[in-house]
Each structure stands twice: as C-alpha cells, then as structure tokens.
C-alpha cells in the first residue's frame, strides 16, 4: 500500500496546456500515474499528450471519472483552482506552486477540512508512491519501492535524502512533500497519521528545518503508544535568528524554532535524529532496527527499482 496516492487515483491536470502541465502528462504518465483528463478554460475539445481537455473540473470529472487533481497554475490563481477541484469532489488535490499567499492557503485548508479532501501543497514537489504513481516533478530515479514513509518540508532535500536511502537499499512506500510554507495542505501530523495506518510502511523519515512548529507534531507522534519508529533530519544549524531562509516558514522567531531546540525536542521523544545530511541513512537504519524485532516476517530492504 501507500498513502493518498496509488494506481487507483484517476488524475486530471488543471493548467494542462502550460509547459509544466504538458511535461507532467508525459513524465508522470510514463511513471504509471493514471492521467485521464486535462482542464484548460477556453481550450476544451483539444488533446494534450493523448489526454482530452475540458473547460472546467466538473466537466472533466463527469466525463472521465477523475477523482484527483494536479494543479499547475500561477500563484494568484491557485486558490480559485484548488477550490474548484475540491468542490467538484476530488479526494486528493496537489498544487506545487510556491509564492501562494498565506491567506489563500488558510482558505484552502479550511475548505479541504470541511469537505474531507486531502490537499498537498503549496510550495512542494508533490507526492510520489514509488513504483506506482507520482503527482509532481520530483526526479523519478531517486526513488525505489519499499517500506519507509518519507515526509519533507523541502523538495530538493527530499530528492537528496531519498537518493541516499535508495542507494542503500531502503525503498519508500510514499514520499510526501508537505511544503515549505507555514500553512500546509497536509501537516506533518496528518501525514504521520496516514503512514501509521498504512500496513506497508514500517518506519518514517521526517525531513524538517528551522522555524515553525511542525516538529511538535513529529515529537507528539513519536511519544504516542504503538508509534512506528521515526528518523529525522533538521537542517538550518548555522542559520542566524530573525532571517528567513528561503522558505517562508524557515525563520527562527523564537528559541523553540531554532535548530538546537528542535533536535532536543525530537531526541527526547525517541526520534532517531541524524546529526546532518550525512547521517540520514544511519538514522534510518537505527530506526528500522527497532522495528525489525516486531516484524521479522516483513522484508525491510528492497531491491532498487
């Protein structure tokens, strides 16, 4: 299994006629994602990469049974596009755009919760269930099917870390980019809940950074009874306080948001904390070692895809 995304999702692409939309249809389709429709107002009736284009999401869903949307529109249009997808009944919506106003992210988050839809984004490479499907633009060669669930606040850091896991034989069930913004469509807490419920995920790797309070979700999960083992890497050890490190959420505003405090919080909760990027594979190995005794019949290592 995997979380949120597998071969069963019927995916439509909003903004399909743009460069990213068109590239996605080809790249993700090749990977195995079931892409059934495109949406581009005023361009309905055309075809992109073999996929029929509709004028709006409702029409695309009615004609193709699409239940999942990949959104590639400019930041100012993200709110409108995601609301359209959720209200048309999509169960999963992914929007990768960065530079989405926080006020808009709050509005999306509120609606998604009301409607029971999952939203991944903004400011994320997306989500991939290796060997099954991808919704986003992550480089496919970094991933292999396996039993580690990965949650990341940063796109490029997740590529780098997953490549290291894959080269060392630790495949992934799903890798979810929760994004670098302060308000996330899917929080680390929710992603942990999904991985906890997934029988094919043995352990979780959390890739975090300075700023914000997302790591408190991770510590709370790791402390809970019956939690799966968690490894973590937090970057930003040498970042000065009060300066935004690229991501809107990567700003140390208080001591609790600094590197040392987050490391202490996670260590005290029993998380296997990597001292730095170089230690991410070892941290994963030690986390997996703690669950090996419970799940001896489940193969922990998988061959590279």
């Amino acid at each position: 299994m995997s979380i949120l995304l597998d071969r069963s999702n019927r995916v439509l692409v909003q903004g399909v006629t743009g460069a990213m939309g068109t590239f996605f249809v080809e790249d993700a389709g090749r990977y195995g994602t079931q892409i059934v429709a495109g949406v581009s107002p005023g361009r309905d009736g055309t075809v992109v990469g073999g996929v029929p284009v509709f004028k709006n999401v409702a029409a695309a869903c009615a004609a193709t049974g699409a239940d999942t949307s990949m959104v590639f529109v400019p930041p100012a249009q993200v709110l409108g596009a995601v609301v359209e997808a959720i209200e048309a009944g999509c169960r999963l919506v992914v929007a990768t755009a960065d530079e989405v106003p926080v006020r808009d992210a709050i509005a999306i988050r509120t609606l998604a919760r009301q409607k029971g839809a999952a939203f991944v984004g903004p400011n994320t490479p997306g989500i991939i269930s290796p060997g099954k499907a991808k919704m986003g633009f992550m480089p496919s060669f970094c991933y292999a099917p396996g039993r580690v669930g990965v949650i990341s606040r940063s796109g490029s850091l997740s590529y780098e870390s997953c490549k290291r896991l894959t080269l060392n034989g630790f495949g992934q069930s799903t890798v979810i980019g929760i994004g670098g913004d302060p308000i996330k469509g899917t929080t680390a807490g929710e992603a942990l809940g999904h991985f906890h419920a997934d029988p094919e995920t043995d352990a979780i790797l959390y890739l975090g950074e300075i700023g914000g309070s997302e790591e408190e979700f991770v510590a709370a999960y790791a402390r809970s009874t019956g939690a799966k083992p968690v490894a973590a890497l937090i970057v930003g050890a040498v970042a000065p306080p009060g300066k935004k490190m690229g991501h809107a959420a990567a700003l140390i505003g208080s001591k609790a948001e600094g590197h040392a405090a987050k490391l202490a919080l996670l260590r005290n909760a029993g998380v296997h904390v990597a001292h730095a990027l170089e230690g991410v594979v070892d941290a994963m190995r030690s986390a997996l070692a703690t669950c090996q005794s419970h799940n001896q019949d489940i193969p922990l290592r998988s061959k590279r895809a």
Partner: protein, 374 residues
C-alpha cells in the same frame, strides 16, 4: 517582509490602534525634536533583539537626543546599519503586556498570543497563552475572552485586549500580515493601552494584490547594492552571512543542508543563496555569480544544485556560458545532481571543470580551497 517599527506603527494607527506619536530622522538630519522631553531614541532596523543590544536610548534634553542619535547611527545590528531612528515621547508605564498575532501550523491559520507580563524578556518568562482559531472568519470574541480569563485577572484590561485582538485579526486578513507583534503593549497610568513597539511581517507573496507590500519590496531592492539588486530581481533568496564560501544552491532545504555541512567540515558559508525560484538558466545564474565574484569576503564559489523540475544539463550549459564573462578568477566547485545529470560531466569538461559526485566531496573541496586562499 518585515516592516520597520515606524512603518508598522503607521499601519496600527491606520486601523485605530494607539501608538506614541513619533518622528523619524535619517542619518545626518539635524532637525530638532519639537515636543517635550524625555524621549526614546530607537534604531530602525529589521530583526529582533534591538533593545538588548542597546538600540533604544533615553534622552532628557536636546543635547542628549543628538548624542543618542549619533550613537545609534554608529551601531550595527546583526550586520544591518539603522536606516533611520525613531524619536518618541517617553511614556510612563504601569505594566508591560504582550499581544501578538501569528501564523501557526497547529492552528491551521492564525493564532493570538497574550501574556500579562511583556517586554524585552518575554522569552525568559512562561510562554504566552494561545488562542488558536485558524481562519479569520473563525475568530470569536467570546472564545478569546474565555482564553484571556485564564491568564489576565483585570477584566478592564481583558476587555481592551479582546477588542485589540479582534482588530489584529481583521488587519492581518485585510492587509496580508503574517505576524503582528505588539511588545510591549503598555498599560499607561491612565489605563489606556498603547503599542510601544510593533513588529509586523507582511506576506510578500501577496504583492500582486497589495501595492503597499509591492512598495516595501521595491524599497528593499532600491536599498540593495547593484549586484544584490540584480540577484533579487531574479527572485533569488539571499541572506549574507559572515563566511568565505559563496554558496549557490537550489531549494531552501538543500541550501541549509549544504550550509550545515560546510560548517561541520570546518568552513564558513558566506551566504544563503537559493537560486531555484528564478530562471535556472544563464540569465538566472549570471547575477548570482557576479555578486559573489564582486564580494571580497567570498574566496570560493560552490554551486550545489539537486534538481527535479530543474534540468541539470541546462544548469551546466549556463555555467559554461558564464565562465568567459567572469571578471574574477575565484575557484568554483560544482556538484550538480538530479534530472539529466548524466549529461553534466561532458559539459563541465568543456571548460576544464569537474562535477563532484557527492555533496560531501564538493564541500570538502570548497573548504580546502577557501582555507588555502585565506
């Protein structure tokens, strides 16, 4: 985008929140203070901890005022020289309170924070009490009041804070603020509540619908030197640090991971420079390399990009095109990985460069080169 104190206070007054009536002075400006003494002389710098660093002085007469102004313009705060000073009446305070609005993941939106004892030592005391309501439409006066009942015993103060809180929520929503911190919120002898200091962060991603934010960004670009300005116009995220390894990276997380690795190997990063938000082509990297080439503190440039949407042969080709344009012979170290990385070694070899296989190797090389240049 952090507003300066005097800009933040102007916004608070605009929405009906009382602040002391102050005036700003630029460096070299000798205009006297027209009001009564004593006054507070306050450095106008982005970033916190100003009070603890001596950036707020008291002046009891015109002479003291001028001495304080000159002193503050001679100071720097985390590398930033004050762009102005703010002169304000020194008000007698009965109690310092703390009130702020922030964006918080656990709130699914906004949170209001209140502490009955505020001031510059707020972080040393017990954490403020939080009212997490999320979307602005979900704010309820009676819920906030109930939260305040647990920490503020004076009901008259409580009622004033409830009103202020409601106003902060409306202001954040209407003006795209991600933080509004009033610390201290001063209770005067008259019982009136006044914002003695204010820190407001505006959401720069809302600039497309908010001219005030667009102007703040433009002003920041104008203040920047020509090299930095060119880089900012490419939407690069740049923070200058005090080291000598000029890091050009892609993605905030990987940029920080590379900074951490540089420090762990005994080196010092000269900057946080995330070049991924702008064009990842010759046009995008040109100002980044020009800026680091022109910066005398930078001894070596490390280009570390792990791209998904960004294709690596394009980055390598951009580097190849830019090499002949450079006016500096600072060494450069490359570590490119990601989509189409197999094409990279051939492209770099055309100008005598080599692609490091791992970040560890690239950082090691950069640290060694920086050391031998020192």
């Amino acid at each position: 985008m952090l507003m300066l104190e005097h800009e933040a206070k102007a916004l608070l007054r605009f929405v009906g929140i009382e602040t002391p009536r102050g005036e700003t002075r630029k460096a070299g400006e000798r205009r006297p203070w027209g009001g009564a003494y004593p006054i507070a002389v306050k450095a106008q710098v982005p970033g916190g901890g100003r009070g603890k660093q001596g950036g707020v002085l008291r002046a009891d007469d015109a002479q003291q005022m001028q001495r304080a102004v000159d002193e503050i313009f001679g100071m720097s705060f985390a590398g930033e020289v004050p762009s102005a000073v703010l002169l304000e009446p020194w008000v007698p305070i009965r109690r310092e309170l703390y009130l702020s609005l922030a964006v918080d993941a656990q709130a699914d939106g906004y949170v209001l924070l209140y502490a009955p004892q505020g001031g510059i030592h707020i972080e040393d005391g017990p954490p403020p009490t939080a009212y997490r309501f999320g979307a602005p439409e979900a704010f309820r006066v009676h819920e906030f009041r109930a939260v305040l009942e647990s920490c503020e015993s004076d009901y008259r103060v409580r009622e004033k804070v409830v009103v202020l809180g409601q106003r902060l929520v409306a202001t954040a929503a209407a003006h795209d603020c991600t933080t509004i911190e009033i610390n201290p919120l001063a209770q005067l002898e008259s019982d009136e509540l006044v914002a003695l200091d204010a820190k407001i962060v505006r959401d720069e991603w809302a600039a497309f619908r908010n001219t005030a934010i667009k102007n703040l960004i433009d002003e920041e670009h104008t203040r920047a030197d020509p090299y930095l300005r060119a880089s900012l116009e490419m939407k690069h995220m740049y923070v200058r640090l005090d080291g000598d390894i000029g890091l050009i990276s892609g993605g905030a997380g990987m940029t920080m991971a590379a900074m951490d690795m540089i420090a762990a190997q005994g080196g010092r990063p000269a900057c946080f420079l995330d070049a991924s938000p702008g064009p990842t082509s010759t046009r995008g990297y040109r100002p980044a390399i020009a800026m680091l080439d022109a910066d005398p503190a930078v001894k070596v440039i490390l280009v570390s990009i792990f791209g998904g949407g960004t294709q690596m042969q394009r980055v390598a080709n951009a580097m190849k095109e830019l090499m002949p344009e450079r006016k500096s012979d600072k060494p450069m170290v490359f570590r490119l990985d990601g989509t189409n990385v197999h094409e990279v070694p051939g492209i770099l070899a055309a100008f005598g460069a080599r692609n490091c296989d791992t970040l560890e190797e690239a950082v090691g090389e950069a640290v060694r080169l920086a050391r031998s240049a020192a």
